[in-house]
Symmetry: C2
Subunit: 342 residues, 2 copies
């Protein structure tokens, strides 16, 4: 069984399996070369051979225990019929949802046809990847997708989305349910195409107050995890409620996923001592430490590894690789994890 | 003694004293009228009669238990010689610090001369304010000021500042110490001019990993609190390490301030049950609930009040008043808190 899957099923492995969020990306010169060929960012996401190539690049370079499909969380709103474009240095621009009519008009029917290039990429990647390396499929979580769909772009606090949810929880709940259904269908297709593990990114969970966190992040993630588990009991789900903070402990218990990703702010000793034995914890090196490199990087790697030594753990960052990261520092991290320990 | 000060000294008051972060601001038509007269935002901060007027406006309208000086956290970097301007709809732009020479050049000497209009405003406000209403002076905390001084503007994650701190902690530590000294001197002058309470805003504490939180947020706040306490033992200090999340419990114990402000994400039951009896807790209604209004607002107010019923508490938001807030909703909040309870 793949080391990533073994860790997700509760095995304690030494060294822990390792992969990095945004391990395929701009910090790699070979990625920038492909990106230049592809045209826009979305063109790259929807081009199966090129998406396959950039997914595999970090595996060839570093020998990570898992590859993660190269794609974007916003392909679901796009496939549901919302206009999407990526503006260089500004990020995504989505046509904002205006109200109930727009929510009712979200159309899951043509979704799979639009997302066919993603499924094809998953198939190609799985075909080319070493069988011992796990392939992770992924989707954005309902709350985070809802945030972008309501505001149309990134925001510091997504106050507009929170306000919509507060003013019309019934309508916002319909949006969340539509997204849940779409996400489950999308991830099932990824699993059928060859994904060994799937991950749900709730990147903006941290802007929610406690009651909103339960309703709009924790419960939807639990429902999606249950729905996938009923159909694909052998495919582990990792959830990442980024910024959950004081809600991490309840989320660990309530969501029922095989894996829980910890963001950079979570103190590792607290997590190791407080969180239940399952789910398997993943994380949480500061991407800034990976940019800084040197002996401070080694020390940070050792600290995390040693905190989680006695429990199932997947080594990762607490957020994505930063663009200015020196690729040699990533090699140093992997070497540090895998070299025999004193 | 003023009700706010009594609560900060550990008294349980029913109803709790109430004020709101950013209670003077754009949501009030009378503020917008003064702002239009003032020219730029900084001109308003540095105009004692106008700053006095906007500070007092919400007190007249709502009868809050405290007024907070109308100013901005960035006046300290400005007074230390960094160029500052506010761009409409974009926020502050500071000349970014480039390295050691810029840090060495930060000059506390002319600081008080530059900040004289602020001290004059404090004196005027205290002179005009009902003696039973507390006047809160404030400053930005070192970490948050450092973030703006390094990046030159707002950022989602202040990765540049965190990277600087990781690469050269000695130099970054010098910047933090210079800011600590300046903040203490600035707040002492505000106290001498009439501030009854002072508050430290660490708005970007939430981007720090656990070890960085201790070093760059918690320890500087503790040192400032100690320095002020030694000189002004009767003036309570409130700290607001916004986004502290899982670090809130340690921060509550380690900083030693009279008050601790809770942000919107902190579950009130957790706080009431877990945090030590001192400091007095302040917060933490979601500003979005204040925009939404109605019976849901009443319920949210009641929930917070009832969670903290048996301990010293100051009612406030978990973040500043949003611009789109209906002033009537603020009146409703205050009425709800003060009406006799069943």
């Amino acid at each position: 069984m793949q080391r990533l899957v073994r860790a997700l099923k509760g095995e304690v492995l030494d060294p822990p399996p390792v992969w990095l969020m945004r391990q395929a990306g701009r910090y790699l010169p070979e990625y920038r070369a492909v990106r230049a060929q592809a045209g826009g960012f979305l063109d790259l996401c929807y081009d199966p051979p090129l998406a396959t190539e950039v997914t595999l690049q970090p595996i060839r370079r570093y020998g990570f225990d898992a590859a993660i499909l190269f794609s974007d969380i916003l392909v679901i709103p796009h496939a549901l019929g919302r206009h999407l474009r990526f503006v260089e240095n500004e990020g995504p621009k989505l046509e904002p949802l205006e109200g109930a009519a727009d929510v009712a008009r979200l159309d899951p029917e043509p979704m799979h046809a639009r997302l066919a290039p993603v499924y094809e990429a998953v198939e190609r990647i799985r075909g080319e990847l070493d069988p011992d390396v796990a392939l992770i499929g992924f989707a954005g979580a309902p709350w985070t997708l809802g945030c972008y769909m309501v505001e149309g772009q990134g925001s510091k606090d997504f106050a507009g989305t929170r306000l919509w949810a507060a003013r019309d929880p019934e309508l916002f709940g319909r949006l969340i349910r539509t997204l849940e259904t779409s996400i489950v269908a999308y991830l099932e297709r990824q699993i059928e195409a060859g994904a060994d593990v799937v991950m749900l990114f709730d990147s903006w969970a941290g802007v929610l107050p406690a009651d909103g966190f339960v309703r709009w992040c924790q419960e939807p993630l639990a429902r999606i995890t249950r729905a996938l588990g009923a159909r694909h009991p052998n495919v582990p789900v990792i959830v990442f409620p980024r910024g959950a903070g004081l809600n991490y402990a309840d989320a660990a218990r309530a969501i029922g996923s095989a894996g829980l990703a910890l963001d950079t702010t979570v103190p590792v000793d607290w997590a190791a001592q407080t969180l239940p034995e399952r789910p398997t914890l993943q994380g949480n090196l500061d991407p800034v430490a990976l940019v800084a490199g040197g002996v401070a990087l080694d020390a940070a790697v050792d600290r995390i590894r040693s905190a989680f030594r006695d429990r199932p753990h997947i080594f990762n960052l607490g957020h994505g690789v930063l663009q200015q990261t020196d690729p040699d520092n990533v090699a140093r991290l992997v070497r540090r994890l895998r070299e025999p320990h004193a």
